[in-house]
Symmetry: C2
Amino acid sequence: MNIGAAATRSGVPAKTIRYYEDIGLIPKAGRTAAGYRAYTDADVETLKFIQRARSLGFSVKDVGDLLALWRDRERASADVRRIAEGHMAEVERKIAELETIRLTLRTLIEGCHGDDRPDCPILDRLAPGCCG
Amino acid sequence: MNIGAAATRSGVPAKTIRYYEDIGLIPKAGRTAAGYRAYTDADVETLKFIQRARSLGFSVKDVGDLLALWRDRERASADVRRIAEGHMAEVERKIAELETIRLTLRTLIEGCHGDDRPDCPILDRLAPGCCG
DNA sequence: CTTGACCTTCCCGCGACTGGAAGGTCAATT
DNA sequence: AATTGACCTTCCAGTCGCGGGAAGGTCAAG
């Protein structure tokens, strides 16, 4: 299977597959006589694995670690879990940060009449002590 | 005032101030005879404005637009509000995305016993139909 | 035998910085 | 007067995870 077919089947764009090969996330693909990369069904499964992990927000580095564990039949599930917990902590941190921002924005937007007059609590908040 | 003092007072790192000048977010600073950038208190206020807007997650492009409105005494608060609303929508979109991820991760982590055995619902989820 | 869809490598760009190298300047101390 | 060390300057490269596009080779269909 050529890279285009592997891309369609896995959901990972061809350019991204080449990139993953480049950075060593996946091993170098075999080549046809003409130099085309050749993929097997197993390769597509790996790509799907990567695609799902990425869509859960795991970093490419984490995905590499998860891939290694996936391939390792002797793995300890604790290792997998540790990676997932680390990622979830990061996700929760980001959510908290965004929630704080959202609350602030909501308050500011509610206070802004939003007409053609210049006075605006949003700008006042960004420049306290300066123009107000 | 030199860039270091402006950085300390505004909370924007010196490197970042130079970067902002480079990309045109702030006008080119005046120079001393020796070629050092010179900043006024008003410049520091501008940098503080930028710092606060960035800490609310506004893109540098949005910050540029907000700065222009801030400087415009004839502005319509509706324009400011529009920018804030656009940003809040984006923040809410990201929160929703992260919440979905968080829920999935929590479920997966809860299902993973996390010991030295290899079976793991997290990997099963990433590779369905492959190893289980 | 040509067309058009595929494939290859290559390098550049994004956003928003951050780090570091190589060199100039300034104020204080010896 | 010389030196030290903290500052400043420019420029280049790297981060992360790709995407765009150029220049060229390959392949199957018509």
